[in-house]
Symmetry: C2
């Protein structure tokens, strides 16, 4: 059984709103439900676990019930960091039947069914796979407010989600990880430390993470397209 | 005398349009004129040179005349690469009175007067300065469709424009450079090769480069804000 863990426990401090960003509305619907839709539709995903701020669980479940999300199996209260939250989601998976775990940001509503399928399929064959997009800007390594060097952007990719791993591999990575390490900005960073090969799958640059009010404007523009 | 070189010679092959992107309309006005406005207003810039596709020069000058751009001194036909185009712009500057050269992308219309001022001021004191913005994504170094490693994004910045240099420094950098080298994605990359220190000035992430139809949607959303 393949499980999606939707990481939606953030408090959205950069959104200048009194609501966590994953519950802000986009085209009249909370962002989290936009995000859940392609996982509901994707045949490679059988179960969805949502990690939320503890105080949001009841209201979420009421709305989720109305929307008929068949695959939603658990709502898990989040931890103090993203890594801690995803680890709690992982604990809710039954080891005996666990297959691929697809971790996805709750505020990336533009992922497509095809992208989820591609990354799950790659993880099934390779053990670990992440969705990436090209880096379009010139990236500089900097120190003390000056340029150290320009990096070769043909060798760089932006890590998106989902990031998919065999259950045992991700579990092992979390056992080795310090979930309070701020350098762990995605699951891949944890799994890289185990030495496992991580396949990259090229995805769309539309699959943005909504973290600022500006991102919401961009998202509304995408939906109008 | 400080000169802005506006690099607008690109043919916009990624824009899926029959017009070069810098001439597409944003809120009813060609993008290039949005871009020129803050340079016209900025007290630290005395002269503006625009590098254009040769066949666009006449139509541009007609429009520019109607808009009363006082600082526009020359329209220069572009070369085959960005670096070649900027080099041609540089050739149009009078060495005897040259001060700081501010190179800016013709399709970055959201730069502010204050940002231009900050970068010009830093280049006057340090010799070279570029506008940058934080990297918000996790960046992976990749090879053969797999992850090599995660980079520490606190050490990375996205290079924006303007990029400002003392005339003699930029001229020397172009003398040393192969303008057909595809790794030269910005002027800073050339100047780095001379060993000069390049100061980074933190700018707004609104200062995006409009290269795809999706970017135009985002730009329209910014303008409605």
């Amino acid at each position: 059984m393949n499980t999606a863990i939707i990481a939606a426990a953030g408090m959205g401090s950069r959104m200048a709103s009194d609501r966590p960003k994953q519950f802000l509305h986009l085209a009249g619907v909370p962002i989290i439900f936009h995000t859940l839709a392609p996982f509901e539709e994707c045949a490679q995903i059988q179960e969805v676990i949502v990690v939320l701020p503890a105080e949001e669980a009841a209201a979420f479940l009421t709305l989720a019930g109305k929307r008929g999300l068949r695959k939603l199996s658990r709502v898990v209260p989040g931890g103090t960091t993203r890594a801690d939250s995803v680890k709690r989601g992982l604990t809710a998976i039954r080891p005996a039947t666990a297959g691929i775990v697809a971790v996805h940001d709750g505020v990336r509503p533009f992922v497509t069914v095809e992208e989820i399928e591609s990354v799950v399929n790659a993880a099934e064959s390779d053990g670990a796979a992440i969705l990436v997009a090209p880096v379009t800007d010139t990236i500089k390594q900097v120190a003390d407010d000056s340029v150290v060097k320009s990096l070769d952007r043909s060798e760089l990719r932006r890590a998106l989600t989902p990031q998919c791993f065999r259950y045992e591999l991700l579990k092992k990575a979390y056992e080795l990880a310090d979930v309070n390490d701020p350098a762990l900005t995605d699951e891949s960073a944890l799994v890289e430390k185990t030495g496992a090969r991580i396949t990259t799958i090229e995805g769309s640059s539309r699959n943005i993470k909504l973290t600022t009010p500006q991102d919401l404007l961009i998202a509304e523009a995408f939906l109008k397209q």
